[in-house]
Amino acid sequence: MDLLNALVALSNFVLIPAIAYGSQLALGALGVTLIYGILRFSNFAHGDTMAFGTMVTVLFTWWFQSKGITIGPLPTALLALPFGIMGCIILILATDRIIYRFYRVQRAKPVIFVIVSLGVMFIMNGIVRFVIGPNDQRFLDGERFIISVRNFKALTGLQEGLAIKTTQGLTVITAIIVVGVLFYFLNHTRTGKSMRAYSDNEDLALLSGINPDKVVAITWLIVATLATIAGVLYGLDKSFKPFTYFQLLLPIFAAAIVGGLGNPIGAIAGGFTIAFSEVTITYAWKKVAIYVLPEGLKPDGLVQLLSTDYKFAVSFAILLIVLLFKPTGLFSGKSV
């Protein structure tokens, strides 16, 4: 019984949040890694791309809510999501056409692209703050829990409760669907294959008649979609605040690098690695320890390895360790 209680507490506070967070990071890291693989630069504007897509979704959600359109127990944001994706795609393609293409034609060095993406980051951040303001926005509605703590306790008779938020369930399901579709696209369709060929060897791909403009446009399209979905899921799960999205850049980059830049499977693995380490290291283990340890060994403190404010430090430390011992990441990505 004690062991069961411990297991439930563990899933409630560690496993489920980490899986949800990991899915969000993985989706974000997939975007970063795709840009790196095909356009060959680290996109610093990715966090703000997520913020922009989410902002459009939030605005549509509010509009739907004011019209009284909902989809039952699910959050209205799901209905607004396609519009958010559309908005993000338009912005991203315009950005590419106006800004990035110039440097691509010039074949500028990757670091120039990175600096250009800094400029894009400033502008997107400015737009988001301009439209929706820098404050916290909540746009979650519908049923809050799939299983609430009280129901779970009544159902099983355990002391510890287990809650699964709708957003957490939604995150995992959406992530699985999105990743499935993405991998099918990359591995089994003609366009996907041409993208991978372009990523592997640009010159060879050009020689075999792959249209680079099309590959780049499709990449941006996918990236905008992934970024918006990741951003909306994160916003539903926590809340939407432009600055937080900017800060997500660090764990997302860490995830992409830990997995191996340019490698989609690595991005997913990296996302979960970062999420699980962040949550386990900053979680106060007292609740679990109470049940597992024998009577005499009950801990006095919270048994928290590091305070939650150091979660950036955790992702960074993992990043450093991976970089030092396996510079191309867990699933060897490319290194330029």
Binding site: G119, I123, L261, F316, P327
Partner: protein, 417 residues
């Protein structure tokens, strides 16, 4: 800048100039790393914050009883932590590869961490319990605040050495991410370790290198002087204090500028540019690329640390909550790119110019919004929204300036010779 003076007040002009000078120093540091060595450092904020921390640790008076209560404990704990890492590294390098080595390293790290927490936690509690509303931290050394400026540079240099040692051998993108991360961590540490510098509770009332306005206003000689010049003594005192800061900052900027200029025009500078332009060729010529990169990375970061110490001195307080990467890292980058990377004069100009723009965009944006919304009726939601959002024009403008300069004048306003 003159126009600002005429239309607003000389007081705010001096304010802008003072911060502009500090920004120029930071831009010099970044220019050394990027313009002369091609290192992409986006962790400037962290080095600036370390400089700020140095002012607190150097200039504040020590807290009564904090050292006896827990200071020694904290120090021992930190030394133990360092020893743990050292042992782990030693084990990694000395023992042969295998499961045994992994086990030993894990054992060293885990036991080291447990011991560290056992010593560290009670010591921290003891220190933070001392007069928590005003103190609750170890305090400083009570030395003159000007000494903190070079110390801030040394702090930043130390951190830069650690990062450079691990990340410089890798690709440029990795250095960018590593520096971005370390900056966040430095801020997190300063925010959370209350025993060090009170964290988000801020340390205010730092000693100043300039006299206080109130003292000046009570000073007979000063009042006589203002009478002779025919200025209001209160205004004169604030101007006078700001002028003293400005003179100090100009002195630092001038010294750094001359030193950098000499370094860059020396054989060393030529070598740095050679490495930047073609690493492989420079390496083939027998230049130690990684060591030179480390050297220039440490030097540039030290300059940022000095600037950070200067800024905290000017503010008179350390407020970790206000350190934001957009303001302290990426804005400096805009300065360097716009001014002209690879040219020290360009960096200084970029620092002053972009800082002025950063400050002026807000009132200008408000003016533009007033003009746009002048046709709308009072209280219309769009008008209200636009007026409120004018403040966020800043980031947009900075991005626009950066992109325009990159596109149409990629070498900046004053290009490298």
């Amino acid at each position: 800048m003159l126009a600002t003076g005429i239309f607003t007040s000389w007081n705010s002009v001096l304010f802008i100039i003072n911060f502009g000078l500090i920004s120029a120093v930071m831009a010099l540091g970044v220019n050394l790393q990027w313009g002369f060595a091609g290192l992409f450092n986006v962790g400037i904020m962290g080095f600036v914050a370390l400089g700020g921390l140095a002012t607190v640790l150097v200039a504040m008076p020590p807290t009564q009883g904090a050292w006896t209560a827990g200071g020694l404990g904290i120090l021992t704990a930190l030394l133990m932590g360092a020893a743990t890492v050292a042992f782990a590294v030693l084990a990694y390098t000395r023992l042969t590869l295998g499961k045994l080595r992994t086990l030993i390293i894990m054992g060293i790290l885990i036991s080291g961490f447990v011991f560290y927490r056992v010593v560290f936690d009670p010591a921290v509690d003891a220190v933070e319990a001392i007069n928590p509303s005003l103190e609750g931290y170890l305090g400083g050394l009570n030395l003159p605040v000007l000494i903190a400026w070079p110390i801030g540079g040394i702090f930043a240099a130390g951190a830069a050495w650690l990062i450079g040692k691990t990340a410089l051998g890798l690709r440029s993108d990795y250095l960018a991410i590593a520096t971005l991360g370390i900056a966040e961590i430095i801020i997190a540490i300063i925010k959370n370790e209350d025993w060090l510098a009170r964290g988000v509770k801020n340390v205010s009332g730092l000693p100043r290198p300039a006299p206080y306005e109130v003292d000046l206003q009570n000073d007979l000689g000063f009042i006589q002087m203002t009478d002779r010049l025919g200025i209001d003594p209160i205004l004169a005192s604030t101007l006078f204090v700001k002028l003293i800061y400005a003179v100090l900052f100009i002195a630092v900027l001038a010294i750094l500028f001359v030193l950098l200029q000499r370094a860059v025009n020396s054989p060393w500078g030529r070598m740095m540019r050679a490495i930047r332009d073609n690493e492989v060729a420079a390496e083939a010529m027998g230049k130690d690329v990684t060591a030179r990169h480390l050297q220039v990375f440490v030097l540039g970061s030290a300059i940022c640390g000095i600037a950070g110490a200067m800024m905290t001195t000017l503010d008179g307080q350390l407020t970790p909550g206000t350190y934001q990467p957009l303001r302290f890292t990426f804005l400096i980058w805009v300065m360097v790119i716009v001014g002209g990377s690879g040219n020290n004069l360009g960096a200084v100009l970029g620092g002053l110019l972009i800082w002025w723009l950063w400050v002026m965009v807000e009132p200008l944006g408000l003016g533009v919004m007033k003009f746009i919304t002048s046709g709308m009726t009072e209280g219309y939601w769009l008008k209200k929204h636009l007026m409120e959002s004018a403040a966020h024009m800043r980031l947009f403008t900075m991005g626009l300036v950066l992109l325009l300069v990159l596109r149409f004048s990629p070498n900046g306003l004053i290009p490298e010779k």
